[in-house]
C-alpha cells in the first residue's frame, strides 16, 4: 500500500514553534505581520537553545541584525505576483519602499548572492505563475497576460519561449504527458 500525505506547511511551522516555546517555557506573541515578539530578558543561552531546536526542523530565527535581504526580496516578489496586483506597478519602486533600501543597493546585493538579477527573478516568477495558470483549464491567455502585466498575448508568448525554450502549447503537451 502506498500512502501520500496532505499537509499545510504554515500550520506545521506554527505548531513546531508553539511546542518548542512551550517546552522551553518562553512566552511569545505573534504580531500581525507574522513576526514573533520574544521577551526582552530572554537569555542568550535560552535563545541559542531554542534556535538549535528550531534548526532541526529547518527553521532559522531572523533578527534585525541578521536580516536575509535576498530572501526578503524573493518572498516579496512571489507574494506580489501570487497574491497582489502587479498591473502597472514598478517592482523596483515597491521593493525599495517595502525593504527600506535603495533599489541599486538591493539590485547589486541580489546579483552578488544569487545566479541572477532581480529583474530576471521577477520574470521567472511571473512565468512560473503563467505555467500554473495555463495548466488550469479555462484560463485565457488574454486574462493571464493582463493580470501578470504583460503588454499583450504575443509579449507573454515571447517571454515564455525565451525563458523555457518552449511554446506554451509544447509546454502543455510535455507537462501533461
Amino acid at each position: 500500500m502506498v500512502y501520500s500525505f496532505i499537509y499545510n506547511p504554515e500550520k506545521m511551522v506554527n505548531e513546531i514553534f508553539r511546542r518548542t516555546m512551550f517546552a522551553a517555557e518562553i512566552d511569545f506573541e505573534i504580531l500581525q505581520d507574522g513576526t514573533i515578539k520574544l521577551p526582552k530578558d530572554l537569555s542568550d543561552k535560552k535563545l541559542s537553545s531554542i534556535s538549535e531546536e528550531l534548526e532541526r526542523f529547518g527553521i532559522k530565527i531572523q533578527t534585525k541584525e541578521n536580516r536575509d535581504i535576498v530572501e526578503e526580496i524573493k518572498i516579496y516578489i512571489k507574494k506580489m505576483v501570487y497574491e497582489g496586483d502587479i498591473r502597472n506597478v514598478k517592482i523596483s519602486e515597491l521593493l525599495a519602499i517595502q525593504l527600506g533600501f535603495s533599489y541599486p543597493y538591493l539590485s547589486n546585493l541580489f546579483s552578488s548572492k544569487t545566479f541572477t538579477s532581480i529583474e530576471n527573478f521577477y520574470i521567472l516568477v511571473r512565468i512560473e505563475k503563467v505555467k500554473e495558470l495555463v495548466l488550469l483549464e479555462n484560463t485565457s491567455l488574454s486574462k493571464i497576460a493582463y493580470d501578470l502585466n504583460f503588454s499583450s498575448v504575443p509579449h507573454l508568448s515571447n517571454q515564455f519561449k525565451k525563458v523555457t525554450g518552449l511554446t506554451i502549447t509544447q509546454y502543455l503537451k510535455f507537462r501533461n504527458k
Binding site: 524573493k74 512571489k78 548572492k113 544569487t114 545566479f115 541572477t116 530576471n120 527573478f121 521567472l124 516568477v125 512560473e128 505555467k131 500554473e132 495548466l135 525563458v163 523555457t164 525554450g165 518552449l166 509544447q170 509546454y171 510535455f174 507537462r175 504527458k177
Partner: protein
C-alpha cells in the same frame, strides 16, 4: 551561496572536457563530477546520499546504459525521482526531444558546436536551475529547451 552540485554523464572524453572547461569559464559557483555511462550514474547516485547532485546532465548515446534508460531508472526510483535532469545530446531530432520530455527530463540542451555557445547555454541552465534548486518554484513544472 552554496555550490550547485552538477553531475555530467557522457562517454565522450573530449565532450566531458569541453563541458568542464565551459563550466569553469562561466565562473558560477558549481561543483562538477563526471561519469561515463548510465549504469555508473545510477550506481553513483544510489551509492551515497552525499552524491546526490542538484542537476544531472545526461548524454543520450552511451554504451552499457544509454541516457533514455538511465532517465527511466531515475524517474521510477523514489529516492531519485525528484532530481533535475538535463539531456545533453548532439541530437536535435524532434522525436528525441519529445521522447525525453515525455520520459520526464526537465531540460533538453543540444550540444553546441562552439565553446562560447556552450558557455552561454550552461549559464542559462544554471541561472534557471538555481531557483528550482532552492525550492523557490515547483520542480515538476520545470521544462527548458535550449
Amino acid at each position: 551561496m552554496d555550490k550547485l552540485k552538477i553531475l555530467l554523464v557522457d562517454d565522450d572524453e573530449d565532450d566531458r572536457q569541453f563541458f568542464a572547461d565551459a563550466l569553469e569559464g562561466i565562473d558560477l559557483n558549481t561543483d562538477l563530477h563526471q561519469l561515463e555511462n548510465g549504469k555508473s550514474c545510477i550506481e553513483f547516485l544510489l551509492g551515497d546520499i552525499a552524491n546526490k547532485p542538484d542537476l544531472v546532465f545526461l548524454d543520450l548515446n552511451m554504451p552499457i546504459m544509454n541516457g533514455f534508460e538511465c532517465l527511466e531508472v531515475i524517474r521510477r526510483t523514489p529516492y531519485l525521482k525528484d532530481l533535475l535532469v538535463a539531456i545533453y545530446s548532439t541530437s536535435s531530432s524532434k522525436r528525441d526531444i519529445e521522447d525525453t520530455f515525455e520520459k520526464g527530463a526537465n531540460i533538453y540542451i543540444k550540444k553546441p558546436s562552439s565553446f562560447s555557445e556552450l558557455k552561454k547555454s550552461l549559464k542559462q541552465v544554471v541561472k534557471m536551475n538555481w531557483a528550482y534548486h532552492l525550492n523557490d518554484f515547483k520542480k515538476e513544472n520545470f521544462l527548458l529547451k535550449i
